[in-house]
Symmetry: D2
Subunit: 362 residues, 4 copies
């Protein structure tokens, strides 16, 4: 199976970029949860191209139709299916893809996987468009987490060699401002520089990769499991479901390779009756289980392979060919991946919290 | 559930560091697979402390007892259980752990998770000792992969700020030599430097982190799935099951954040009838599915938190205290994690290949 | 989770009787399978009320809209979602259900399960209407089974105390005729009697239960697993998903209770190079695994609890009340359950056959 | 996979009749649960041959060794592995099985399933001996259920054409006496008759089938799920894991086929503030979810195929042959299956109750 995730709260994603519709079935939702349509629209708009120099004119947000699992504005607890119709798919633009494999896209690996039967138009089921139902799912469940005091923040940490300060150094105010930004970098100067770098790259018919940081606050201590059902493992498996994600780090992540044990130790101290940590190198997870400190997670996203520069490739018939993509392509998908990462993290956490056996009793 | 992994070939890990035994049940094995005891012993010895300056005298390898699933030297196809008895567990050494939480260990998060009922001695089920059954499982299934032409290589890439050349640049001979080394670094000079750095750190009562690189060759094109059941996601979920792993990268991994699309493109060309790639930035996986190029994967391992330097912590009763660990502790677990990472990767690949629907028909 | 089934081929059912739509996501389908629309319509029509004396006028078959997973008339191998809109739901008819629990319906147990938030109209997600997507799923996958020589037949065995001859005694011609009958009883006289019994019961404002027999031919030897993943167990778990099913028997089923070992033995003999059985008491499954003999399975369906006779019940507020259902209600759902049982069995078998590890290599 | 069951509490059964050991890994246990060794021994003794005329001398109960998951007499919450060594396996008795397929045993279907590699001695992994770890698992978790007021009773309902009164008509005292009986029939006369019938059949070198009834009291309303994750479906999938089970009925089961809706209606009435049912035809489950009434479930067990009468069969090489089993064989496994059925039901219920999303909040 390809497109299902979760043990207690399961999402089943379906659709192709140029098919009739895309969507998600959520099975295992708590019953009686108010469906916050405004929140859903807000999150889905964040995934829209945005008001960037390189953006196509802002389209209206995809409006998902909830066809089941909802009654009188609340979840029923039975499977909720939400669907987004593909209205303006112009298949002709993609006719080239039925003959050429685009390098670093899933055209080749996917075609072999499915014996050539999968939908090649716009990447089919591999399209970044499939992240829209993920955002829907996350937006639906986030109020349930937030009522428990669990909040998910995300920022762009790095794009095109330019960075901004780590998310754990942001003030509460800065964290809260992130979701309202078209381009989730809190420091204006950094944001401006990154946007310029993208625009410059676009004019060179090229694209940029980057990284996104998540900070998740308010989780109780003791959520998760050792060995194969860890918070890290669960987040990783789901986050690798976002197209173009190629690395996942927790806490100090790759920097641990150059650290000593004394540098990496999160010493503990009592603050009244409460256990506190002097640092959070582990990013809120030790032994696969939450420590109560915020979860810190970074994902790296490769530059989108859809660029206009000519690329050597081969046809489906096995003939060398040069690919020259035309039309507008997003020169950097990182900004739009921010709400997607938040949404996927929300689903993972809700799944863990809904499992009776996956956490302590408090 | 905590300690099970796999859909088609499932391993169920059990045991505590100082309990009666540790082991694994493997359910879904191919039937009739010869059980290569020499190979199993070889791989399990690689996980032993080794002949390093800081090592305790080399113990004999753990000898797992196969109590089911084997008949006349071959797998039956029904569940195979292998068990390793904990013979020389000296629980008194660990009495301190029943009163103190060791910083950056799972003592605190695990204790809350299990309401204080889990075995605190030596980390209990969170102990690195639980990687022994993983190595067993991998050693059992690897000949099945190798018969299909699939080989798994691993090296230490980085320790204590020191690195060696990337695994994809190693010659076939160098790759093959790695599993025979106590310290899996092919270039002698790099190896010597890293070993010295560890020894120096040990004398400072400290420890070191590092990173390991995997190279997996011979996988056919088209193995894996889009979205939530990707090769990356499956490897990540399982590899995060190795204690102290805090980051996982595929292909160029975190470096993608600073790259452009033209730099990251794996252009394609025909070589006779065969499709070849001019580069392998994607590490052999695109869209969650293998491309036929080698899988490149890097994991980062945090420095072991068991150091002799005093650390601020709290007692289980909530009183500030200083922890002073005594006794010998491994100053760097990276070398011993090399065969563990290989084994876990072997299980993940076998699981994918045993799923009828998870790959093309070739 | 409530409404998902399958390990290799997974169906995720969604919808409520009076919601916007019902449907199914099928994940794990073989790619390139032609979508036989005629077959789908044919099977879905079989589930329609039919041309019985008590039937409402024959409606056109529900036309499911395939919104994903299909390309150029074939399955892509990625998730296929099919949806049926609820066009003529008249919610007012069901207003009574928002105040009363109907005895032997899921109104009470479901309401407590979902804390009163589930959709009460027409049974909501518990409605028999949810069997329509099951029939769709089965109809889609059956040609794949049939190409392998696997055929599924079903008949009504018993209704209202009246029976017909066992399905294993039917000739090939009789078996093949079953799917073309509005009322799946091969012997005309038996059929006539049963239909009359239903009509008579209807006039008494009552309903009838019955049983359905499945015969599945052409399965290879060696499909299935011992202990918890048996062919029997898998069929049972899925078939209990059909509303009102209360018993499942394999082979001689309940009659085994009164038999001796010598009576129940399926003796074996060589017929040329082929192993044959002198009898098939075990119904084609021994040790959870197919023997090559036809699978025989019988399910018992309770009489529909929707009857017009007054019934004692209570309101949702906890007050004694008498329920007097008005309007037309199907006096016997057994005939319409026949294609549903076939479809569910098809999904179970395809799931087993698509699992690389669930059967021998032949 | 063959031998794993459960979503929240998972048991992984391993072992062969004549291998080194059999056992179970339980993953997902509540932590801090006292391990009641007396209870475990009591339940395991109930599965022993017993003091019947046809029994071999009563052996001491299998003593399982708990090798992990236990600390200071309580469950740790991490995987608990229990093992029973096969001490007195006399493989020579079974040499015949390496050449002949025993009719109605899994010798043939299992051999094809595993390409001849599975252990043929004593049925290998298909042996009834594998029910011992099931009984262990059930005995471990039952006190947890009983603390919640949930009790599981079972009786033999029918053997060799002889029956006793339905379990729902037994008094509380009679129900409680059942587990103390070697032969779980409450009415002495019925018990005596059944025992005589078995002994008589044994002298005729034959065997008998029978049925077992379960009554489960104290479950709250609202446990379970609609469609594919029903209480009926879960119990059925797991109970079919007991060798020789061929039918499963809930409530009135097969009798529903001959009933009317008015006869089958479980009318409801208020008794003070509590909803009560005038009858329990549905056996405590409607829509896959508990109603609060006792669960009634009946399983039918085929006569053991190990009889001394000569049987026509074939050799593994495909030659007609006559099988003449010698040695003692249990002429009726029904009495010993009683505690097994209880144990499996206990695991199923605990699994459902441990799933956060599988029941209401009360």
């Amino acid at each position: 199976m390809s497109s299902q995730w979760g043990k207690n709260l399961r999402m089943s994603i379906f659709g192709e970029s140029h098919g009739t519709a895309i969507g998600v079935v959520m099975d295992g939702l708590p019953s009686g949860l108010p469906i916050d349509e405004e929140r859903i629209l807000f999150e889905m708009k964040r995934r829209q191209p945005g008001n960037m120099p390189w953006s196509t004119k802002r389209k209206e947000a995809d409006l998902p139709e909830i066809v089941s699992g909802s009654y009188e504005g609340k979840t029923t607890g039975t499977p909720l299916c939400a669907m987004i119709r593909n209205t303006n798919a112009r298949s002709k633009d993609y006719s080239v893809l039925t003959s050429l494999y685009r390098p670093s896209h899933a055209d080749y690996s996917g075609s072999i996987r499915y014996d050539g039967a999968n939908d090649p138009r716009g990447g089919g089921h591999f399209s970044g468009r499939l992240t829209a139902p993920m955002v829907f799912a996350g937006a639906l469940i986030r109020p349930w987490l937030e009522e428990k005091g669990i909040f998910i923040f995300a920022q762009i940490r790095r794009i095109g060699g330019l960075g901004t300060k780590p998310i754990e150094t942001l003030s509460e105010e800065e964290l809260k401002s992130l979701s309202g930004l078209d381009f989730a970098v809190s420091r204006e100067w950094d944001r401006k520089e990154m946007i310029e770098a993208i625009e410059k790259t676009r004019l060179q018919e090229d694209s940029l990769g980057g990284s996104i940081e998540l900070l998740i606050t308010g989780l109780p201590v003791g959520v998760g499991n050792p060995i194969f059902d860890t918070v890290e493992g669960n987040l990783a498996q789901a986050l690798f479901g976002i197209p173009a994600v190629k690395a996942i780090e927790f806490g100090d992540g790759c920097e641990f390779a150059d650290m000593t044990g004394s540098q990496a130790a999160d010493e503990m101290r009592m603050d009244g009756d409460t256990i506190t940590f002097a640092s959070n190198h582990n990013g809120g997870i030790v032994g696969g289980i939450t420590t109560g400190a915020p979860i810190r997670c970074r994902i790296t996203i490769k530059p989108t392979p859809s660029i206009s520069q000519p690329l050597q490739t081969v046809t489906r018939e096995g003939v060398d060919e040069t690919l020259r993509l035309t039309g507008r392509h997003d020169p950097c998908v990182v900004p739009r991946a921010v709400p997607v990462a938040e949404a996927v993290a929300a689903m993972v956490l809700a799944d863990l919290l809904l499992g009776g056996g996956d956490h302590g009793d408090k």
